[in-house]
């Protein structure tokens, strides 16, 4: 991957310097950055630095990549966590409703709606939500409630009181979270529906019914809790989807997170940032998989890893 990145035409010096730079000065800059060394040497240095946690220097942000990522990561994580929470709550609810109304018009209609959102590119949904609840609601229709279309907080954020600050943060968080939530919910709802239907057919649910428990206790006390087991592992496996989603959503809403920074880094040929960014994303995916395995073992007593 490193080699391929460096085979690309143009290098950071071209972009940092602009056409006014003399050839001599450009050569000097290349020498300073070690860009004139053979590729193998560059790779060795890079690998050694990478292993020690030194991701290099981002020339677009004028700061070490590590500092840049450290400042962006919390923003991505807060958006991701909000969306994950929202989509799981919504998805589980819808899945349960569908399972209970199995093979009725409600089930069918919800399936169609979910498939509709599932088929939707997140960047388009983000744009449409911006258009309706951000721009049109405020400027054209004059609705009393509208949501800011871009950024994390407004310019006068610092002058607000603490309560107003929280409200402000939530308002800015609403549309990005809503976008991600709607896109992710479909898969969870489908999974929950299947899981719930499977559990409802189990013997212990029949036993619970036979005992004379109220339908509510059978569903929520017995069936629901068991149907949740496989869903818990899904949360870890959803990390890649979530991260891909944040890239688009951050770009549309101007959310200062890692995804948007990576896209901008691609435009600016800021290789260290691209490489480190994808590395961090990969780590998060692996961590998600691990989390899924651990959760599964922790929740389900039948699963034991030796």
């Amino acid at each position: 991957m490193f080699v391929v990145v460096h085979l690309a035409p143009g290098d950071p010096v071209d972009i940092m310097a602009g056409p006014a730079l003399t050839a001599d000065a450009a050569a000097q800059m290349r020498a300073n950055f070690g860009l004139d060394r053979p590729l193998a040497v560059q790779y060795g240095r890079w690998l050694a630095a990478f292993a020690t946690g030194d991701f290099g220097y981002s020339h677009t942000h004028q700061a070490p990549v590590r500092t840049v990522l450290a400042s962006l990561l919390p923003n991505t994580l807060s958006l991701g966590a909000a969306a994950l929470l929202g989509s799981f709550v919504l998805g589980i609810l819808i899945g349960v409703v569908q399972a209970l109304k199995h093979r009725t018009a409600v089930d069918g209609a919800l399936s169609v709606v979910m498939l509709f959102f599932y088929s939707m590119p997140s960047f388009w949904l983000a744009l449409m939500l911006t258009l309706t609840f951000g721009l049109m609601a405020r400027n054209v229709w004059g609705w009393p409630i509208w949501f800011p279309a871009s950024g994390m907080y407004s310019v006068d954020y610092q002058s607000l009181g603490s309560a107003a600050r929280v409200v402000e943060r939530l308002r800015y968080l609403t549309l990005p979270t809503l976008t991600l939530t709607l896109v992710l919910t479909a898969g969870i709802a489908r999974f929950m529906r299947g899981s719930m239907l499977e559990v409802i057919g189990e013997d212990y649910v029949r036993t619970a019914r036979a005992k004379g428990l109220s339908e509510r206790r059978v569903i929520w006390g017995h069936a629901f809790r068991n149907a949740l087991l496989p869903i818990a592992t899904l949360s870890g496996l959803y990390v890649p989807l979530l991260l891909s989603g944040t890239v688009f959503v951050e770009s549309v809403f101007g959310w200062p997170g890692m995804g948007r920074a990576m896209v901008e880094a691609v435009h600016a040929r800021d290789y260290p940032l691209v490489m480190a960014g994808s590395f961090v994303f990969a780590v998060m995916v692996v961590a998600g998989n691990l989390l899924a395995d651990v959760l599964y073992a922790a929740i389900d007593p039948r699963v034991r890893y030796d």
């Binding site: 498939l115 388009w124 258009l131 880094a265 691609v266 691209v274």
Partner: protein, 380 residues
């Protein structure tokens, strides 16, 4: 499933079948698809729809068709129009006998309603893309007068409005369908081929080969696909063929994993053991016995993969790191419209809607195929 009266009363069934058959033959000639539809075969609706669509084009857009016949733009589209017409006719004629209750039962088992809707929508989109020059008078690249025809809302002259270079949005969506669909289909096909071969070899040969292939798969799958794509396009500004290759390269690992699992379980089955005992070569066992039997899930995954590829291409183009903005792909159009989002809402809305409808149709077909082909994934 449904007990039918015809099954019990043999004599009446035969007599009725005679007249029904004659009527169906006539109908099949005039309105292909209708007799099959009336008999409960849902795919008759597709034939009928295609038939009506073709005649609508001929009737409403006769001037364009005549111009194309006279050697103007769109002669290829006219050929496709003709092929569609003949194909629908031939199918209907050959299936004219399929109107009995038995055929009805057979048909209702394989093709559910959502699948027919999905296939129909997909066929309509593909047909619209192929017939683009006949369906519109405008050019996708050259706009009208910038001063008077720029950013006009949807109207009778411009169905879906015009963009900031006064180009007709509807026209651009039609031509964009060619690009987006081609990318989706070729990328998914390529990934399926590559993934199936790699997965089958890894599963059957095992050992070091298996380790090498599957570790590669693991590495690729460790990255979120979009992130991987972003780091690749950081290096190369993709052209259409290149983005197809890139999409295929990031998609094949999941197919490979799927096929390997399938092959591992097939490998121990008697018919493979028998094939080996007969002295068949490895490559023959893999291509003739393993791959065909593992194909069901692959077909489902590939169908859904077409949708993923379309969305990903659109996404990359939207982020400005995909296809060059001069190419009217759907993603590029959504991105362009973003600059005039408030004054011209139609610019981003309609191309995006085209993506949604296409992907929705693909997902409907994929789900239907899953129910039909993948015995383990039966929805309760």
């Amino acid at each position: 499933m449904r007990p039918s009266i015809h099954e019990f009363d043999m004599t009446e069934g035969v007599a009725e079948r005679g007249t029904a058959h004659r009527a169906a033959s006539t109908l099949a000639f005039v309105l292909p698809g209708l007799p099959q539809l009336l008999a409960g075969r849902k795919r008759g609706a597709l034939a009928l729809g295609a038939w009506v669509a073709v005649w609508m084009v001929l009737w409403l857009r006769w001037s364009a068709v005549r111009a194309a016949l006279g050697g103007g733009r769109g002669s290829g589209a006219v050929t496709i129009l003709g092929i569609t017409l003949v194909a629908v006719w031939v199918w209907s004629w050959r299936a004219r006998a399929d109107v009995g209750p038995a055929a009805q039962e057979r048909a209702s088992d394989t093709w559910g309603g959502p699948v027919v809707v999905g296939v129909g929508a997909l066929a309509a989109i593909v047909l619209a893309a192929l017939l683009a020059p006949l369906l519109t008078d405008f050019d996708p690249y050259v706009g009208g007068s910038i001063r008077s025809e720029r950013l006009i809302g949807p109207s009778s002259a411009h169905l879906l409005g015009t963009d900031r270079l006064a180009r007709d949005v509807f026209t651009r969506i039609l031509y964009g369908a060619r690009i987006s669909l081609t990318i989706g289909l070729v990328a998914a096909g390529l990934a399926a081929t590559l993934g199936t071969m790699a997965g089958a070899v890894a599963g059957y040969v095992g050992g070091l080969v298996d380790s090498v292939i599957m570790r590669t798969v693991d590495i690729v799958l460790a990255f979120p696909r979009l992130v991987l794509l972003i780091s690749i396009v950081a290096i190369v500004r993709p052209s259409v063929p290149l983005i197809v290759v890139i999409l295929a390269l990031t998609q094949w690992p999941s197919t490979a994993r799927l096929v390997r699992g399938e092959v591992l379980s097939l490998k121990e089955r008697d018919f493979i053991v028998a094939a080996r005992a007969l002295g068949m070569s490895r490559s023959r066992i893999i291509t003739r016995h393993l791959v065909p039997n593992a194909l069901g899930p692959v077909i489902v995954a590939t169908t859904l993969g077409v949708g993923h590829a379309i969305v990903l291409e659109a996404g990359l183009s939207f982020l400005g790191i995909g296809l060059s903005p001069s190419i009217p792909s759907w993603g590029n159009m959504v991105a362009e419209g973003r600059e005039n989002l408030l004054e011209a809402w139609w610019l981003s809305t309609f191309p995006g809607l085209a993506i949604v409808v296409t992907v929705l149709a693909i997902n409907l077909v994929g789900d239907g195929l899953r129910d039909a082909l993948d015995p383990r994934a039966h929805a309760p």
